[in-house]
């Protein structure tokens, strides 16, 4: 069973994403910020990470940089309410950039695509 980490500071989002992904047959871990996310990454052999950008303590961009430093091959998807970070070079290292939507089909398709590789 593939292991996915969802990092988002909003509890409602974490709950929604994990419910949906579990339904798809993944094992889901959650974190409320970047720091928590890194702790899990260090302890759990994950297959994919979904990162929010705006989070307290450590934001998604810093988390992305550290994940890519430690595990360059671990796919990281950015899922954010903001579109403009697409232009930020720091987000270019992510494997996908998704703007949040109540319709989770785009997200689930991206997860499937990256886990197949």
């Amino acid at each position: 069973m593939k292991k996915i980490l969802v990092a988002d500071d909003e509890m409602a989002i974490r709950l929604l994403y994990s419910e949906e992904l579990k339904e798809e047959g993944y094992e889901v871990y959650t974190a409320a910020n970047g720091r928590e996310a890194l702790e899990i990454i260090d302890s759990v052999p994950l297959d994919l990470v979904i990162l929010d950008i705006k989070m307290p303590e450590m934001d998604g961009i810093e988390a992305l940089r550290q994940i890519k430093e430690r595990k360059p091959d671990l796919p990281v998807l950015l899922s954010t309410a903001y579109g403009e970070y697409k232009q930020d070079f720091a987000t270019w290292a992510s494997d996908d950039y998704l703007v949040k939507s109540s319709d989770l089909e785009d997200l689930k398709n991206a997860v499937r695509r990256h886990l197949k590789d």
Binding site: E10, A12, I13, L16, E19, E20, I53, K54, D59, I61, A81, Y82, G83, E84, Y85, K86, Q87, D88, F89, A90, W92, A93, V99, K100, S101, S102, D103, L104
Partner: protein, 789 residues
């Protein structure tokens, strides 16, 4: 007594009568002889030497001929009376009387009694009165007193005669001087005046001839300017006494001499120098004084005096004439200068009334061609085109042949009546290409004389320019020639005079400044307009930015809860039975959330948030897509395109912006080669840099390169060497590349061309070190809320 009274009254009558002086004297002597009842009465006059007494009057009338009867002072009874100033009476039989007075025997051979009475007044002896009788006579005291009284009357008459003669002479002299003085102060021409002075001098002195010699101030040669009467050629230029030049000597110098001619006759001359300002300027010379019935006479001191007076008059006249001539020359020069300065001043003032280049050019040209201005036939103004290093025609005009002479102040503001086409003027500025190029290069006026070979041979001279003589004056501002003014008088064939050319040069200095000012003014005006536009746009975008910042902030806050609501609604929908009434409610929630999310996207699109189209693109393909946009322009400029596009990993970028970068670079290359044509070479390749792998594109032109002095400016906004374009092309390119964390470099090869190298990071293989800086830049350029938060 009555007889004596009658005698006395008769004498007094004679004394006061108006008959001539000589007649009065002889009448008196005759009367005395009759009254004294003597055989004869004689009057001996003392001559000028005061040594000799000459017989002048006899009571019997006629005098014996030559030799004249005379007694030296002290000799005979006459000489004794003169010497002692006392009456002397002798008788023939007295010892020595006959011997002493022997000459008297010629008049009265048998004289017996001789009585001599001095004729004198209180201070002067005029002569001696001698009474002769052939008998022994004595004179009573009464008779003696009568003779004494008679001699006093004679003395008075003589004195009166002398005074009268003297007065006549003085009056004559005065009237001469008066005439000459009148002539001097009149408007008589100098030559006439000198002629008159010379002839008057000769006449007054009674000279046979007179001559005026003047030393020419420039050549130093002496020439006779005027002469009168007979002038012996040999004596024309008597050597002047050296004292003539050193007028400091107390004695007034003069030259007096005598020579004898071939016939042995003696000739006299008298010369006085004409000196003023301590310099000898000539001589006035008279020859041979003539007295009626006599031969040439030497000149006396009175003549010298008169000569000096005349010399003084001539000097005065010469001085006046010279001064007048100088004053006239000065006045003439002043008048010309004033006229020229007036032209200069009026044109200057007119130029001050405008800052518009066209109007200024009109004023300058009018000032140069109008008859009331400098009056040239034709004027052309050419300006330096810095970019192409050529002189191009700016404006020119010809004076219409029937131009009325209007006051300059009026005509300066009128439009040009006969403007000339100037488009044909296009002269490369290089040595040897004519006077115009020379004037620009040397920044000095060039006068093309008709006698000199036409230096424009081989230059692309306009066919309309046919002048043999012309004058080119450069317009120099801050050590830089901005153009030239060319004037000629070809139409009328007049030569170019130095004075108007001089004024033209002064005018050119000012015209250059005014034209430069006008040019700067128009540039500033254009810049101001552009700045105003930019400012307006910026204000507009500021307002939008504030609005969109507010909107996007709210939109983002709403998005997260909306995602949760919508997401869970979908989950609920899956769990709800197909026919449950809840299903309809959940669907309403889902639809409403979708509607809100759509609205949100639209708001964020509007605020610019989602307008960037970042994606992964092939750089070579982007270049291929851009080229067709310029193909027609490139073809029109005969620019060949050489492509060497390698397959390289895709880059993450906004494809439209990267296309913009290459569009600007291609456009720049085309402009560099638009006159000459050339080759545009585009090469893509990968490049290793310190921080990773980059996609690179090199764009080269063959447009000659960028001058070193402007190289540092090329990325500055609004910098342009062209008259068109905003100067923003390269600046925009640089910003876009920076926004993509790339670099743009310039390789400039002067004389060949420029290569711009754009490198963009390949994100997967690149850890850009200065990403933070790039992000800041990107943030600054992306209005709403760039940068990470």
């Amino acid at each position: 007594m009555s007889e004596r009274t009658a005698f006395m009254s008769q004498m007094v009558e004679l004394l006061t009568s108006t008959v001539s002086f000589g007649e009065r004297l002889s009448n008196m002597v005759h009367l005395l002889a009759r009254f004294m009842k003597v055989d004869e009465a004689l009057y001996f006059g003392l001559d000028k030497t005061k040594e000799t007494l000459n017989l002048q009057i006899s009571s019997r009338g006629a005098l014996p001929g030559q030799p004249r009867l005379e007694f030296p002072l002290g000799q005979g009874v006459v000489g004794a009376a003169a010497k002692t100033r006392k009456p002397q009476m002798v008788h023939r039989d007295q010892e020595g009387v006959l011997l002493d007075n022997a000459p008297l025997e010629k008049i009265q051979p048998d004289f017996h009694t001789l009585a001599a009475f001095p004729v004198a007044d209180d201070n002067f002896l005029y002569g001696v009165l001698l009474l002769i009788d052939t008998h022994l006579r004595t004179f009573t005291p009464s008779e003696r007193q009568a003779v004494h009284l008679a001699s006093l009357m004679l003395a008075a008459t003589l004195r009166q005669g002398l005074l009268q003669e003297e007065a006549k002479k003085r009056i004559a002299e005065l009237s001469v001087l008066f005439e000459v003085g009148k002539a001097l102060s009149s408007t008589v021409e100098l030559d006439d005046l000198l002629e008159r002075v010379v002839s008057t001098t000769a006449k007054v002195i009674n000279a046979r001839g007179a001559a005026l010699q003047i030393i020419d101030a420039e050549t130093g040669e002496t020439r006779v300017t005027s002469y009168y009467g007979q002038v012996p050629v040999a004596k024309l230029c008597p050597p002047l006494p050296s004292g003539g030049e050193a007028s400091g000597s107390a004695e007034m110098p003069f030259l007096q001499g005598e020579t004898s001619d071939a016939q042995g006759r003696i000739h006299y001359h008298l010369a006085v120098p004409l000196t003023f300002k301590r310099q000898l300027h000539g001589t006035l010379c008279v020859f041979d004084k003539i007295i009626p019935g006599g031969g040439p006479q030497p000149f006396d001191p009175e003549n010298r005096q008169l000569m000096f007076t005349m010399a003084g008059l001539i000097v005065n006249a010469l001085e006046n004439a010279l001064t007048y001539q100088q004053v006239e020359t000065l006045a003439e020069r002043n008048e010309r200068m004033v006229r020229n300065l007036t032209v200069l001043q009026e044109v200057s003032q007119a130029m001050l009334t405008t800052v518009q280049e066209e109007r200024l050019l009109d004023i300058i040209i009018q000032g140069l061609i109008q008859p009331s201005g400098l009056g040239f036939d034709r004027v052309q103004i050419l300006e330096v085109d810095e970019a192409s290093q050529t002189l191009r025609g700016r404006k020119g005009a010809q004076r219409p042949p029937d131009a009325p002479a209007l006051p300059l102040s009026e005509v300066l503001f009128q439009p040009l009546a006969k403007e000339l086409p100037t488009s044909e003027w296009q002269i490369p500025i290089s040595p040897g290409l004519g006077a115009m190029a020379q004037a620009v290069l040397r920044m000095r006026p060039v006068h093309q004389h008709p006698s000199l070979p036409q230096s424009g041979a081989g230059a692309p001279w306009p066919s309309t320019f046919d002048a043999q003589e012309y004058f080119v004056v450069p317009l120099v501002v801050k050590d830089r020639a901005t153009g030239v003014i060319v004037v000629d008088n070809q139409a009328s064939g007049r030569p170019l005079e130095p004075e108007p050319l001089h004024v033209l040069q002064m005018l050119a200095t000012q015209a250059a400044l005014m034209l430069e000012n006008a040019h700067l003014y128009s540039t500033i005006e254009a810049n101001n307009r552009e700045l105003m536009l930019i400012r307006e746009r910026m204000l507009e975008s500021d307002r939008l930015a504030a609005l969109s910042s507010l909107a996007s902030g709210m939109a983002h806050e709403i998005r997260n809860p909306l995602v949760s609501i919508g997401g869970f609604a979908r989950r609920i929908a899956k769990l709800v039975e197909k026919d449950s009434p809840l299903r309809g409610y959940v669907e309403v929630i889902q639809e409403e959330v979708s509607r809100l999310e759509k609205l949100l996207r639209e708001i964020l699109d509007f605020t610019g948030e989602n307008l960037s189209y970042f994606g992964d693109h092939d750089l070579s393909q982007l270049i291929e897509d851009t080229l067709p946009l310029l193909q027609r322009d490139l073809d029109a400029c005969h620019i060949k395109v050489v492509k060497d596009l390698q397959p390289i990993p895709r880059i993450h970028c906004d494809d439209r912006q990267i296309k913009q970068v290459f569009y600007n670079l291609f456009q720049n290359a085309r402009q560099a080669m638009h006159e000459t044509g050339g080759t545009l070479t585009i090469r893509t390749y990968t490049q290793e840099r310190e921080d990773g792998l980059y996609a690179a594109a090199a764009v080269s032109d063959t447009g000659g390169g960028i001058p070193l002095d402007v190289l540092h400016n090329i990325f500055n906004p609004f910098f342009s060497t062209k008259d068109y374009g905003t100067g923003l092309g390269l600046s925009i390119a640089q910003r876009i590349v920076a926004r993509h964390y790339g670099h743009i470099e310039v390789k400039n090869e002067l004389g060949r061309g420029v290569t711009f190298i754009v490198t963009l990071p390949i994100a997967k293989y690149c850890l850009v070190k200065d990403a933070g800086q790039g992000a800041a830049l990107a943030g600054a350029l992306n209005a709403p809320s760039g940068g990470r938060r």
